[in-house]
Symmetry: C2
Subunit: 771 residues, 2 copies
C-alpha cells in the first residue's frame, strides 16, 4: 500500500493538502496527554469538510439509547465522549479576506507530527483572492508535563502589498457531536468571563453535569516585537471569547500570536471558581513562555520513550508504524488517574463512545504493564475494582444475585452503556479478561498482596457470576454456558463458546488458588476477605470445583481441535481462501445473517484462549487449532491479527507471523479499513506492540522471570524494545546474529533466553547468540 | 376479569367516560371498511389524552430505520401507516365556551359500538362553565357499501339559557404520527379547495407520494329544519377547511349537523382532480341522505354476518368477544383489492407499521377462506404472487440466487421493512406459511388450476430458497438449516428449528407434487411453467428430493418429542408452573438474554408445525409434544393460545382447550396485555375464530370434504358458526346433545361428522347426535 505519509522514523509527514482526506489527517495528527486531546483541526477558519474534536478525559454524556425495538434490560443510554469547547481557534483576516484552506489558492503545505517531542506543526503558503501571499507556520502541543495546559504558536508573513490584518484568537463552546443520537447538544449553561487579556469559557454537560472550563491568554508580535497592547480587544459573547488583534501591515511583515491555554474539568476542580483557575493556569503558561513550556513537555515525552520505545532497523515504514502506535497509546492514557481508562478512539474521534471495553484488559493492559511504572497497571485494575458495586448491580438486572458481578461491555462509570443485546447481554467473556488482568498484573509485578487488598473482591464477584451463569445440562451431563457471544462477534447467542467456557473455568480455578494462597500466607486477611465477601465456603467453593471438573468444552476429537462453539462443525466448511476477494471485508458485502451462519470468524477466539493460557496446550495442539482457525478467520476486527501473529511466531512460522503483523502495524496510518476519518484504533495499537514484543521478541513472564525467544523478521535488520520488569528497565535488541540485553537497573537480573538462564549485571549489556 | 364494557351480544357499550382509559376506548370503538378506518376519537374538541388516528388502506410512509448499530443488509426503512387528515371534526362553541369532555362537567356518557350495523354512537350530557347544559348525540359510520364514503350525524340540545352557538365542522390535515422515528411529519404539499358548501383537503405522503383527499359537505338543522344557508361560512386555510355555522339559540333548541365525507386515495384515483372527485362523492352522500346511506351500509354488514357469524348461547361475554373479533377482521380487510393486506393493528393504531406479516397466511387467511367468497382468499394469495420479484430481490440481498425467493417478514410493497436482524433475516419460516396458504387455498376451494397459473411460481421461488438455505453438515450427515428464528421469538439464531425445517421439507414436497400433478393433467401448461421459471429438472428436483430425504429434524427419542431446535435439551428444564407469577409476563420482567437462554417459549412452535401437518402425526405424538411444550410455553404472543387450544380440543382435553381459548377471546376487550391503547391485535383475532371453528367445532377440510368433530365447552349452552365451503354456505350448530347442520346452498353436500359421512340436501337442516 502506498502511504500518504513520508517515511520517517520519528515523524508523520504530510506534504500536500488533500481536502478529500482531511478528516483522515485530522485523526492521524491528533495530539493528547491522557487528560485532554485534540484532533488536528486547523487553527484558522476552514470551510471544508471537517470533524471538530476537542476531548476532555472522563467527561461523558449519556445519549439516550437508539434501538429499533426495545427489549427488557437494555441500558438507558450510550455514553458518548462529548466534543468539548474548541480552544485552538485563530482566525486570520487580511484586508477582509480570511485565510481558509478550502478557498485560498495553496502554494505549499506540510503537516508534521513530531512523535519524539509530541509536537504538531504546519507550514503552508496561500494566495488570497486579493493576490496577497500569506506564509503560515503553526505549532501546538498539549503538555505532557502539566496536562491541563496547552499552547499554540501561529505566525503569518504577508507579502504582495500593504493593508490591514486582523487576528482573532478564540475559544468557542458552541460545538456539537456528529454522533449524537438525536442531534442534541451535549452542553448547556455556558458562561464566559474575561479579566484583562485573559478570557475563559465554562460549560457543563447536560444530564451528567461535568463542568469544563477553557481559558486563554495571547501575545501578539509584529516582526518579533510584542505589540499586544493597544492593538488587542477582548470580546466575549454567548459561548465564545476572543482576543482580537488588528494592525496595519506592509509587505514582508510577520505577525505571530502565541496562545496559552488551560483546560480544567470538574473531575479535578470545584466548578465554582473554575474559570478563574483556568485563567490563572493560562497566565502561568504565558509567564513561563512557549519555549520553556515546550522544553518540559519534550522532556516528559523523552521519559516515555525511554520506557517504551521500539526501534526497528532496515524498515522505516515499520519503524514509523510502531512508534505511531506507541505514541498514540501514551497520548491516550498516562495512568495517573484511576477514574480514567483507554477509550477505543482515545482523543481522536467521537465514535463508539464509552471509555472502557474489554480491549483494555485483553490488549492495552499488557502494554502499560511492561512500559510504565507498575502503578499505571494497578490504576487500571483499581478502575474496575471501584466499579465492582455497579457490576453487581448490572448482574442483578440480568437476574443474578448474591454478589455475582458482570462488568459492563462498554462503560464510563461502571454502568453498561452499549445496547446491542448480542454484545451487552451475551459477550460475557469480558468478565474473564478482567479476571485475567489481575493474574497478569500479579505475574508481572509479583505483587500478590494486591489479591488480598482488592483483587479477590473482583475475582469472587466474577466467579460467582460464572457459577450462576453455568447451568447443568441433563442431556450432556456437563455444565454448559448457553446464549453467549464470544470475542468473535460474527456469531451470537451460541452455546458453549470454547473461549468463554475456558476463561470461566480458569477464573474459578484462579480464584480458588488465590484464596488458598492467601489463607496460607495471611490467615487474618483471608478471614477478612471471606467475611467481607460473605463467602460461603461450604457451598460456593464446592460448586466452583464441580464446574471446573465438569464444564463442557466443545472439541472435535477427530480433527484434534477445540470448537468455537456447539454445532460449529455443522457449518459449511469453506475457507477464507475460497472467498471471492471482491466480497471482502464480509461485513461490508454479506448480509448479517449470512455472516452469522457462515464458518467465518471475525477474530481470534479459540486462539485467543490458547494465547492467554498457552502453557496449558502443547505446540501440536496450538498448531492444529492455528491451522484450522487461521484458515477460517477473516480478521475483520483490528484486534485479531496481532494475536494470530504472536501464535505464528511461537510456531516458528516467521513468514505468517510477519504477514499477520503487517495487517495491524500501519492499520490507521495507511487506513486499511477506510475508517480512520472517525478516529484511530487506539486499543488495537497495543496489539501491534504485543506482536513485536511477545511475537518476534517471544517475551513472556514465567516463574517470576522475563523469558525471551526472539526471532527476526527477514525484512528487518534488527529491532529492539524497552520494557520494565519489576521496575527494572531493560532493553532487548535483536539483530541478525545476536540478542543484546541491557539491564538499566541498579541490581542484577536473571533472564531466560531460549530456555537458558542468563544473568545480567546492573547497568550492563550482555550480547548473546540469536537462534 | 371485570370488563369495562356492558355484556351484550351485539354491542360494545361503555356507560362512563374514563379519561384514563380514553386511548383504550379509542382503539376498541374503532370503525373501518377495508378501505379506510378511524379510531374512536371524538368529533368535538378534546383537550385530554388522545391518540388521533385516521388511516387509509395501502398508504404508507418509509420511516428511516432506527438501529443502535447498522448491519449490512438492514432495510432502509420501517414502513409506517400514516395518520391521515382527520375528517370527523365538529367543534361546538356555546357562548364562547367549547364542549370538551376534558373540561366540562359530565352528567352522563355512553358510547356504543353496534357491531351488527357497523355504527359508532355516543350520547352525553355536559354542563359548561356558564351553566348551560348540552345534550349531545353523535353517530358515525364508514360505509361498507361504498367504502370511500363516511357520514357523521351530530346533535346538540342546549338548555339553561339563551345565547349564541357556533358549530365548526372541519377537515384537518395538520396531523402527525406519535410513532414517527424522527418526529418527522409524514405528509407534505397539502392544498385546500372549496366549492359552495363543499370543501376538500389534499395531501401527499413524503417520499412515497401517495395522495389522499378528503372532502366534506354539511347540513345544519335547527329543531329539524335545514338552516344551513345564510348561517354558514366556508373557511379554508393551510391544511384545514371548515364549515362554520353560527346562530342564536334559546333554551331547549336542538342543533344538528350531518356531515358527509369522502376519502379518496391515489391507489384508486389520479391525483390531479382528486379534490373535485372527493367533493362530488361527499355531495352524493348529501343527496342520498344519512339514513339511506346507512341502510345500504347496514345491509352490507348483514351480508357479512350471514357469511361468518358465530353465535354462542349461555355465555354473553364469549358471544361479545367473538363477534368483536369477527367485526374487526371484516372491518380491516374485505378482500376486494389484491394490493391490500391485513395490518397487525388494522385501522386501529399506528404501532408496528407494515401491513403484512406472516400472521396473514398463518392465521387470518383461514378465516377469510371460510367466511368469504373464494376470491377474497385468492386476492391474499395474489398479493404475494405480485410481490414475487421483490421476494427474489430480497433473497438476492442476502446472497441467494437463481430465482430463490424470500418473502419479507413485514412489508407494504414487497420490500422488507422491519429491521431487527433476528426477525428480518432469520425468521425465514414465514416463507413456509406463504407456501402453506397456497395449499390451504387449493384444499379448501378445490381450485388446483391456481397452481399452474400463479401458485407454482411462488412455490418454486420458495423451494429454491429452502434448497439454497439448507446446507450439508459433514458432522451430522444431514441437511441443516442454521441461524434461524422460529415462530418462538424467545430464541434466535438457533440451528435446526424443528418447525422451520419441517415446513421447508413440506414446501419442497408440495412443490414437487404440484409440478407432478400439473404434468399429469396439463402437459403444455406444465412445460410453460418449467420454461417460465427456467426450472432445471435435472438438477433442482433431485436436490430437493435429497433434502426431503435427509433433512435434520431434531428430536428427543427418549421423551418421544420433537425438539424446538438443536441443543434445546441443554437448557435448564424448569416449567411455567415453576415461575413466580410476579415475574410474568417474562418479557416485562426478565432481561432479554435470560429469556433467550431459558427453556421458555413465547408461542406455539413445534406445536404450530404439528397443527399445520396434523395428519402426519399420531394423537400420541401430539399428546407427548403438547404436554411437553404447553408446560414450557408462556404464550406471550397473542397468536399462541389459539393453536394450543385447537390441539387441546383435538386431544379431547376440553378443559384445557377452553382455558386456552379464554386467553385470546377477549384479549383486547379486556386488555389482558395492557397495550390496547396502541390499537387492537387484529390478526390474532383470527386465532380466536380458529379456536372455535377448528377447536371446538373440530372443523377440517379433508379429502375435499368438510370434516367435523364438535365438542361443547361446559360453560356454553350451544354455539354455531357459519362457513362457506366451495361457495356453499353452511351453518353448524353444536348444542348439548346435537350437531345441527344447515346447507344453505342449492345443491347437496356430504360432510364428515365424527368420521361418518352425512349428506345434507340443498336448503335443508340435519340434526345429528353430538358425541
Amino acid at each position: 500500500m502506498n502511504s500518504r505519509f513520508v517515511p520517517d522514523e520519528w515523524k508523520i509527514i504530510e506534504n500536500r493538502f488533500e481536502p478529500e482526506n482531511s478528516r483522515d489527517s485530522e485523526s492521524i495528527f491528533s495530539i493528547g496527554n491522557g487528560m485532554m486531546g485534540q484532533r488536528a483541526n486547523f487553527e484558522e477558519k476552514y470551510s471544508g469538510d471537517t470533524l471538530q474534536g476537542s476531548y476532555v478525559a472522563g467527561v461523558y454524556y449519556p445519549d439516550k439509547t437508539v434501538v429499533g425495538w426495545w427489549k427488557n434490560g437494555y441500558p438507558e443510554y450510550f455514553a458518548k465522549v462529548p466534543n468539548a469547547m474548541s480552544w485552538i481557534g485563530i482566525d486570520v483576516e487580511i484586508d477582509g479576506e480570511q485565510i481558509d484552506l478550502a478557498t485560498c489558492k495553496i502554494k505549499s503545505f506540510t503537516r508534521v507530527l513530531n512523535m519524539k517531542e509530541g509536537l504538531l506543526e504546519r507550514a503552508f503558503t496561500v494566495v488570497l483572492p486579493s493576490g496577497r501571499v500569506a506564509e503560515v507556520t503553526a505549532k501546538r502541543f498539549v503538555s505532557m508535563h502539566e496536562p491541563e495546559k496547552a499552547a499554540v504558536k501561529y505566525s503569518v508573513k504577508i507579502s504582495g502589498g500593504n493593508g490591514r490584518i486582523r487576528i482573532t484568537s478564540f475559544i468557542n463552546a458552541d460545538v456539537k457531536n456528529e454522533d449524537a443520537n438525536y442531534g442534541e447538544k451535549f452542553w448547556e449553561g455556558t458562561t464566559v468571563k474575561t479579566d484583562g487579556k485573559k478570557a475563559a469559557v465554562k460549560s457543563q454537560t447536560r444530564k451528567t453535569g461535568f463542568v469544563v472550563a477553557s481559558a486563554q491568554t495571547n501575545v501578539f508580535c509584529l516582526n518579533g516585537k510584542d505589540v499586544t497592547e493597544g492593538n488587542t480587544n477582548i470580546s466575549a459573547r454567548s459561548e465564545y471569547v476572543a482576543a482580537i488583534f488588528t494592525n496595519q501591515y506592509t509587505s514582508g511583515d510577520t505577525f505571530e500570536v502565541t496562545k496559552y491555554v488551560a483546560v480544567l474539568s470538574s473531575l479535578n476542580h470545584t466548578p465554582a471558581s473554575m474559570e478563574t483557575k483556568a485563567m490563572i493556569k493560562a497566565y502561568e503558561g504565558e509567564c513561563e513562555g512557549f519555549e520553556a513550556m515546550f522544553e518540559k513537555h519534550k522532556d516528559a515525552w523523552a521519559e516515555r520513550w525511554e520506557q517504551g520505545d521500539i526501534a526497528i532497523k532496515g524498515d522505516v515504514a515499520a519503524q514509523q508504524g510502531i512508534r505511531f502506535n506507541i505514541f498514540q497509546l501514551y497520548q491516550t492514557y498516562t495512568g495517573e488517574d484511576p477514574r480514567l481508562n483507554i477509550g477505543p478512539k482515545g482523543f481522536t474521534g467521537e465514535k463508539y463512545g464509552g471509555s472502557t471495553y474489554w480491549d483494555t484488559e485483553a490488549f492495552a493492559f499488557t502494554f502499560y504493564l511492561n512500559t510504565a511504572d507498575s502503578h499505571v497497571a494497578r490504576n487500571l485494575l483499581l478502575y474496575r475494582y471501584k466499579q465492582l458495586d455497579k457490576a453487581i448491580e448490572n448482574a442483578g438486572k440480568l437476574g443474578f444475585k448474591d454478589g455475582a458481578a458482570l462488568f459492563p461491555m462498554v462503560t464510563m462509570n461502571g454502568e453498561e452503556c452499549h445496547n446491542e443485546w448480542e454484545i451487552t447481554f451475551e459477550e460475557i467473556h469480558r468478565n474473564g479478561a478482567i479476571a485475567y488482568a489481575i493474574f497478569n498484573y500479579v505475574r508481572n509485578t509479583g505483587n500478590r498482596e494486591y489479591l488480598g487488598d482488592y483483587g479477590l473482591d473482583v475475582l469472587v464477584g466474577i466467579s460467582r457470576f460464572w457459577s450462576q451463569r453455568a447451568t447443568w445440562s441433563g442431556d450432556k451431563k456437563k455444565y454448559v454456558i448457553l446464549g453467549v457471544t464470544g470475542p468473535n462477534e460474527y456469531e451470537n447467542n451460541v452455546n458453549n463458546n470454547w473461549y468463554t467456557n475456558t476463561i470461566a473455568r480458569w477464573t474459578l480455578r484462579y480464584t480458588i488458588e488465590s484464596l488458598e494462597w492467601l489463607r496460607g500466607v495471611n490467615n487474618p486477611k483471608y478471614n477478612a476477605v471471606v467475611s467481607r465477601l460473605s463467602l460461603d465456603l461450604e457451598k460456593e467453593i464446592p460448586r466452583w470445583k464441580d464446574i471446573i471438573a465438569k464444564i463442557h468444552l466443545p472439541e472435535d476429537t477427530s480433527l484434534g481441535i477445540f470448537l468455537q462453539q456447539d454445532g460449529y462443525m455443522d457449518k459449511e466448511q469453506i475457507l477464507v481462501s475460497d472467498l471471492d476477494p471482491s466480497e471482502r471485508p464480509l461485513n461490508q458485502h454479506w448480509s448479517w445473517d449470512r455472516i452469522l451462519r457462515s464458518v467465518f470468524i471475525k477474530q481470534a477466539d479459540v486462539l485467543q484462549g490458547i494465547y492467554f493460557f498457552e502453557d496449558d496446550y502443547s505446540d501440536e495442539t496450538l498448531r492444529r487449532n492455528f491451522d484450522f482457525y487461521e484458515a477460517r478467520c477473516v480478521h475483520e476486527s483490528s484486534l485479531s491479527p496481532s494475536i494470530h501473529s504472536i501464535l505464528a511466531a511461537k510456531l516458528k512460522d516467521n513468514d505468517r507471523a510477519y504477514k499477520l503483523y503487517l495487517r495491524t502495524a500501519r492499520l490507521d496510518l495507511d487506513d486499511y479499513n477506510k475508517e480512520v476519518k472517525d478516529g484511530l484504533h487506539i486499543t488495537s495499537m497495543a496489539g501491534t506492540w504485543l506482536a513485536i514484543v511477545q511475537g518476534f521478541g517471544g517475551m513472556r513472564i514465567r516463574n517470576d522471570k522475563v523469558s525471551l525467544n526472539p526471532t527476526l523478521p527477514e525484512a528487518w535488520k534488527s529491532f529492539s524494545f524497552i520494557m520494565r520488569f519489576r521496575n527494572k528497565p531493560l532493553k532487548i535488541e535483536v539483530t541478525e546474529k545476536d540478542v543484546i540485553i541491557t539491564n538499566f537497573s541498579d541490581s542484577g537480573i536473571s533472564i531466560e533466553l531460549y530456555g537458558e538462564t542468563e544473568t545480567i549485571e546492573p547497568g550492563k549489556t550482555c550480547k548473546l547468540k540469536r537462534k
